[in-house]
Subunit: 418 residues, 3 copies
């Protein structure tokens, strides 16, 4: 893999820098300077939140947090260009704090898709996925916000549903029958679950910033923060209750606490900045929690066995279904209250935005999956899935110890002495 | 435990949402919009700070960070209602960033009490404790700030001392003679202590935001931040020095570094926003460090053996004693400099605030402990204290490995082959 | 070590508090109030970033994050005094948010030097180093900014190069021939590398705040943030590519991902707030990544074997070389564009700043190393290097388990039964 990764990665970075040299300028206006704290929160979500959330696998922590960093650092450069192309002034992309928030946002789509295929792809495959997905995302986002003029301030549709269904389509194309029986490394350890809670909590805590970062004014921003805050809180209680209820012995499941507690942030995204009332935000959060828990418990196994979609992190339940729920909430809210000064959006355009997002994500993901399957890119074998040591220098001692204490020769030595 | 937790939790959430529907509105004023960065810091303290600080126990990390999240997510909703009831306008609670800071604050009381009984209660007991404690806290806080008109900007009294003595009273009522000999799970591992340092550091770092978040103006806020910054720094040096001094071999103790370094933030809270001079703030920090280290080293064992108060995390030394110290500092400062335009508070009212807080906390905690002891709620057995596997699906492999390598049958197999 | 650490530490803290009482006042102006979010980001970098970055060693995590906290909490007090002495008004040091940012900054020098000698010094040696280094740093910084009037907004020279070469000079004086063969504890474990990623990511994420915190106005601040954001992103891709390229099997190295990805933040520091164009910032980031990876891979072993400089964390590659690169970039940028209203700096003064920084750092470090070698201070033996248990109460159980399962007597017992 030495040259297979390094040479294309170096080439891509050179191309990006040349494009930056040609197209990118500082924005001289101070119009988004007040968004810096929001940006920093989103930045932490992308690198620490997404990165550590995926460290739950026992032997895939380096890749989770490391390749997450690679995708995000690469994607934010590519996203700056792809999103900037739609908003050029005099042939230049002017970057300010809103641009870098949007650049970080665009990487979230690739990171969500990474969750669907976690443990089953190579780093170079992920770079290609990132390029394709962010390019398609930028087009769909333009379609949703500029052509359909739909609202989606927290990006339930354009990021969460998009990233999830794109990733699921990739996972379908890259289906591995050899993983139908649970892979021995496809599970967590006690400490890997605690690392994952670091990611989960920073996502949970800064989600109000995510949903409000690009709200049009201070009042909308305040509403988005408050709605997201209460939606997440309500969703969390429901997740704990249902996690206990769906388990035969009534025990909580770390998978659910790490993931389904966040569904309330996803689902309230589309109408987060609309004055829907905290009460309604909490109702959305509760439905999201129910959908997400049931999805993890009942749907994910069926997707894998019947539809051949192996979704490592269950992104369908954290981003996919709650993202659709967010889109539907947007349709209902605009149908009931839309067309006023407060809410100048229409249900038809919201529905078009949701439909286009799902269609483009599925088609784009299938296409991307087909490209990632090209033989010259190489594939990791089923046996080496979910294993850092394929791509990383991994410290030996823990394995050494394990081998040591289970080594029959070790015992033989003593027995021979007898 | 399947229905015993899930059904009451679902019911409580439904009740809360109905109350939100009836009483809660967005605040349309932008008066507290500038507090958003402060809010985010406090939010991190509550969920990451408190949550990870308690992960030091070797087999109770899931519960520490998980049940902490449950309590906080539930408590912030309940706290919004309980605190809002005292400040309704036209029958409505108007939520803004100050409200959600206060909602997060109110959960801190329950989380501090959680530290006192950590490992010895069930999730449903903790939900009941949260409801009762936040309700009583909101009444006491109203008494302190509105009736006594005392100052307590960083809540040394109303949150820290209150939460600690409430929790200690609960622990006294729930006394378990079976735990008098140290439980084998009531200790840390190397990595669990590192996880706890994540919590400790985020508390330490964001404490200036905690103590300044609800200061009345920008100048008070600046003073509160600077006082807390230097108080914590001085307290930290003293903690390291005394930690070495009280140990026979001169070694540092992780328990002290994780906890006593924070006492300076607690103790400077009451007069944090008063112009007491950084010098005095540092003196308060030093005294807090001394009191806290000595408390952990000498008092906690005595409390357990003589007074039957088993304080798992030593909240008495981190929140209780330093909270009282903060209250006393408030009395002294107002006695010396009070009644002026700079410091319009009086020592009598400060003393009344401290006394009422301690009395109400102890009585409320004792009452709550009695309720938690009701037989139908169920109790975890002494043997299963400090053990996640009672409430959580815990990954098997580590135990499996341990059993494996110690399993005589394993060896027998080889010996049979001989 | 009981009194050897505690008594001097207590004495030093008393002296500092007396000096605070005499010299320090609140700044009554609100001029730096808007910098609070920047301060909090820097604060997280110092305590969580630096602290956890060094937890990669398998048995030195307590010391890494704990002694880091000790140095930083002590250093920020000392730094307030040392930096304040150069800017007194009417005999008083007026502290505001800019002061506490600078106080945190000054500790970074000692923390960088700590990285060079990590595992090989005692806590009291580190306190002495902190006093000396921050004192010398404050003088050099005054020279660079006030006398030479050079620009160094992100402190590539005055903090990063200074801290690195100071630490390397100390390491040279404290050279330990006994460590020429790799010490068995001088390596990481799987989980210690994940803890280190927490530190690395928080440094990476908040570096834009570090480089912009003391920029002169909002526009410079915006430019510094954007330059740093893109420089780090470009540096990260290069680091991944080269990490794979320099490894024979093409595998990524955690050491490089944790460290060299940050070099872009260091190197862009000196001219971060100048309108050099994002393109140029990215080029600086790329060169920094190349220099840093090659430094870790080829230079560090040579420094240890030929020059007798044992640099535990490789600070030469993360802070030293990229810091010099930043200084050189400053010289080139001012040579090409300097002397205008946008960039009122000259290459000669920039070169003088770089030269004085390196010279003073090396001389100061050598002097400090000589002082730390004084016999009455004591030294840790080679055998006990990189081992927490010398200074900390360390939980026993993990070692116990290891001993247990490898214990021949254990097996003998079963064999006897045969």
């Amino acid at each position: 893999m030495r040259f297979k990764f390094a040479i294309p990665a170096l080439l891509l970075e050179v191309i990006i820098i040349v494009l930056f040299g040609i197209f990118v300028e500082y924005d001289k206006e101070s119009i988004s300077d007040h968004l810096y704290p929001h940006f920093q929160d989103v930045h932490v979500m992308i690198f620490v939140g997404f990165g550590f959330l995926m460290t739950f696998l026992k032997k895939y922590g380096f890749s989770s947090v490391g390749i997450n960093m690679l995708i995000a650092a690469f994607g934010l450069q590519w996203g700056t260009l792809m999103q900037g192309l739609w908003h050029m002034k005099a042939g230049k992309i002017h970057v300010n704090f809103k641009s870098i928030i949007n650049a970080d946002f665009s990487t979230a789509t690739a990171l969500i898709s990474f969750g669907a295929v976690l443990g089953k792809t190579t780093p170079i495959q992920m770079l290609i996925l990132t390029i394709l997905e962010i390019t398609i995302f930028a087009c769909n986002e333009h379609l949703v916000t500029e052509i359909f003029e739909a609202t989606d301030v927290g990006a339930s549709m354009t990021i969460h549903a998009f990233g999830a269904y794109f990733g699921l389509a990739v996972a379908l194309v890259l289906y591995r029958p050899g993983l139908n029986n649970k892979h021995e490394n496809d599970e967590s350890t006690y400490h890997s679950d605690l690392f994952a809670m670091i990611g989960s909590l920073f996502l949970w805590l800064f989600w109000p910033s995510f949903n409000s970062a690009i709200a049009p004014d201070a009042s909308s921003q305040r509403i988005a923060i408050i709605n997201t805050y209460y939606s997440l809180a309500a969703c969390t209680i429901i997740t704990f209750a249902l996690s206990s209820l769906v388990d035969q012995r009534g025990k909580f499941s770390m998978v659910l606490i790490q993931n389904a507690t966040l569904a309330g942030g996803v689902a309230v995204g589309t109408c987060a900045d609309l004055p829907i009332h905290p009460f309604l935000a909490m109702c959305i959060g509760i439905i999201a929690g129910i959908v997400s828990v049931l999805g993890f418990h009942f749907l994910t196994p069926v997707l894998a066995s019947k539809l051949h979609i192996q979704d490592t992190c269950g992104v369908h339940n954290l981003h996919g279904l709650p993202g659709i729920l967010g889109g539907i909430a947007g349709i209902i809210v605009t149908a009931v209250k839309g067309g006023t000064r407060d809410i100048p959006f229409t249900p038809g355009k919201q529905a078009a935005a949701l439909g286009s997002t799902l269609g483009i994500a599925l088609a784009g993901g299938a296409l991307t999956g087909a490209i990632l399957k090209l033989p010259f890119l190489g594939q990791v074998s089923d046996q080496h899935c979910f294993d850092d040591s394929v791509y990383w220098e991994v410290p030996e001692e823990e394995n050494a110890h394990e081998i040591h204490s289970n080594n029959p020769d070790e015992h033989s030595r003593f027995e021979a002495a007898v």
